[in-house]
Symmetry: C2
Subunit: 448 residues, 2 copies
């Protein structure tokens, strides 16, 4: 059955009230596909669709939806059902659902949940967004270090439902401090009477609750882990972060880098409303408008030069465009390189020197090329030289600006990607026009 | 011990020839950290470092290195040791190591390996890069469907070392076709005498060997899987793809999107040599140079208009820059949206309509703003109106171009991100200049 056929079949069962057939179709679906079907369904059938789902199926559904749809579904379910769904959801999922929601609404939803669950969610919500504490889950299995392998396996069997990924079991001391980790393999290969303490691995890679989620993703990827334990300041184990959440983080962080590098506005996807999308993009565009005015101001400062040699205007977009692009190229290398690698001072210097060489090479190639073209086109060798040497200079400067500025931001713990929109574009635009018109003005006698 | 102290300690043991102390330090390291230490080490100590490592440690090390360093280390190890290391490495890792290596060198390396291993690697290398077949591993556990739970658990225990992630066991029929999957949980909760056939899950999510790796990443992320089975055309199980490789794919694909969106040149990282980095970036820049010449040509076509009203040049960078940026904004939304969601025709139309509205809103806001500024600055209301209405028109067109062009490419199965550099920039540059100077020429009598 294709997705489309399935939607039609579901609508048919809903119309005819055949709950059993409906359940047969739904039972075969993965959570993601269930959510897809809900979204394909015409609005008038959705209430009945929700009515026909079990609490467990509703939980699967809601986890896969966008925040707006999640809140809508919870509202449609009414207090009784939605409280059951919330109790079944994982705490990190509820915390993510409640992010940026009106505080009154948050309290209303939390009050519907079991005391214990609600407290656990509130505990997560205390951590800032995009930190380890906020995305961790409490579904893992821990054992005291004095346990034997046999006892550990028994506990594992008992909590099987609870543990999302069963590759590791975490070992704690009497103060709940994380002291070791044992893999399932260790348990299988060990003797039942072996002490966990003796077979566990104690050089644990762990993260603090306040660690940035990007850092967590970097570590999990670096060590090829399936999960990563999260501890409080005193070393107390409070949760784990699983690799499936890390993939979401990697995608989210890549999107944020792209948003910043292309100044494309925050968190706009296919479902964002036009007014909201416009609202999120406008700040960048208005900023660019004023940057454009600065460029305009510089050009107007050289009005005299431009009036004498109007042909100078022909090469203006080329020089500004290429300088901007070479800066963005360097910026992208720095920003994405930092995703998987740290840089110390020596490595930064090496990178700057590398980019300087790159700037010189591309500057010479493009400079000679445009000098020849300008000479042939305009029949003025001085104009060719002015355009060519301006491009050489601006490409070198553009490359360096695109490298050094994000490195300085990185050094001061500011996300280097924010440099793109405002800083690099402004600086490169202004510098390239100043150099170009400056040179042209110097040689104005030979150009006319 | 910090990383730096560790490097110093290692150098000391190497100089003094204390292999036991060296091994004590090394034993505590994760593979990634081992590779870091190798890279921190001054070149003169590296040979001895390699000499002190066991074959297993060398394998851990080599897996974490860049391709250039991998080949260098293999060369340093000599035929005997390097063949042992290659035999221990996973096949997908060897396949990735051999990608884009000189065919002669590939044959040399393969001939050092065991017949069986070498054939397995050659099998993977038959698949095109960035497909499921190329990144899959053969380290998984399969069982025939007539097995009982007891037999399955016994086989699992036996092959524990082999299986990278042990959450699933794959079930095949007599022709090696994949017919089901059973989780460890199913095995634990089942009775030892249960038939696997009866407890396995048979609606399997799987991928074909030729599936694009980006698609694999999308599926694994969508269903929160730890691994995904890979089958040949006839349904025969030939490998699995694990989530740790998927994170690498997600990062790689995000980098490729950024490279294309910012035209920043292919695969440049902190270690790329300056000549190679320049060589990879130059094609884009030279293309941009010719695009810039087209703009120059258009401007020269309006030389008469420009000579009469030089002030028109002041707003040129602003209009071209903002049109280019609004196009990139829309492009980024489309390209990144497609990472996690597919679009059908109806959804595409909805998106185009949404972007049209966005274009109108931002066009009106920015158009009015610049009209007022131009009027106040230049004291000419007609100039203000020309600049403002040009910007309104170009922003709408830029937004639509940035949406429609990648959607058309997507429809024809071309990666929409390639549109950025050449297409969107050219089209938006040319259109914005034509509209701007076209309008100005129409009102030239009122402008002077």
């Amino acid at each position: 059955m294709t997705e489309n056929e399935m939607t039609l079949a579901l609508i048919k069962t809903l119309k005819e009230g055949k709950k059993t057939v409906f359940q047969e179709i739904i039972n075969e679906l993965q959570p993601y596909d269930l959510a897809q079907q809900y979204q394909y369904l015409p609005a008038k059938h959705r209430n009945k669709f929700l009515l026909y789902l079990s609490i467990e199926q509703l939980t699967y559904l809601i986890v896969e939806l966008d925040q707006d749809d999640q809140l809508e579904v919870l509202h449609k379910l009414g207090t009784e059902k939605s409280s059951k769904v919330l109790d079944l959801m994982e705490n990190d999922e509820i915390a993510s659902l409640l992010t940026d929601v009106d505080p009154e609404k948050v309290n209303e939803l939390l009050s519907e949940m079991k005391q214990e669950e609600s407290e656990a969610v509130q505990y997560l919500m205390n951590y800032p967004p995009e930190t380890a504490g906020r995305i961790m889950t409490d579904r893992y299995v821990w054992i005291p270090k004095h346990y034997t392998v046999h006892e550990a396996v028994e506990k594992l069997k008992h909590f099987y439902e609870l543990a999302e990924y069963l590759n590791y079991i975490y070992v704690i001391d009497s103060e709940k401090k994380l002291v070791g980790v044992a893999s399932y393999k260790d348990l299988l290969l060990g003797k039942p009477t072996d002490k966990i303490e003796d077979i566990m691995f104690s050089r644990i890679v762990k993260v603090d609750v306040y660690t940035d989620q990007e850092e967590v993703a970097k570590l999990i990827n670096r060590y090829d882990f399936i999960s990563m334990p999260v501890v409080e300041e005193d070393g107390k184990l409070v949760g784990i972060i699983t690799v499936d959440d890390v993939i979401d983080v990697v995608i989210q962080e890549a999107n944020e880098d792209i948003e910043k590098l292309s100044a494309s506005g925050k968190a706009i996807d296919f479902n964002t409303k036009p007014t909201i999308a416009a609202y999120r993009r406008l700040p960048w565009l208005i900023l660019l408008l004023f940057i454009g005015l600065v460029s305009g101001g510089i050009i107007s400062g050289f009005e005299g030069t431009l009036e004498q040699v109007v042909a100078l205007a022909f090469f203006m977009p080329l020089i500004a465009g290429m300088t901007g692009n070479t800066g963005t190229q360097s910026l992208a290398v720095v920003v994405r390189g930092l995703v998987s690698q740290e840089l110390n001072f020596k490595q930064s210097l090496k990178l700057i020197f590398r980019e300087l060489l790159v700037g010189i090479i591309i500057g010479i190639v493009c400079g000679i090329l445009i000098a020849l073209i300008a000479y042939v086109w305009m029949g003025n060798i001085i104009l060719g030289l002015v355009v060519g040497s301006s491009l050489l200079a601006t490409l070198i400067i553009g490359t360096l600006a695109g490298t050094i500025i994000p490195l300085i931001l990185y050094k001061f713990k500011v996300d280097p990607a924010v440099a793109s929109g405002p800083l690099i574009t402004t600086i490169n635009d202004i510098l390239s026009l100043l150099i170009y018109f400056g040179m042209a003005t110097m040689f104005i006698a030979r150009l006319t």
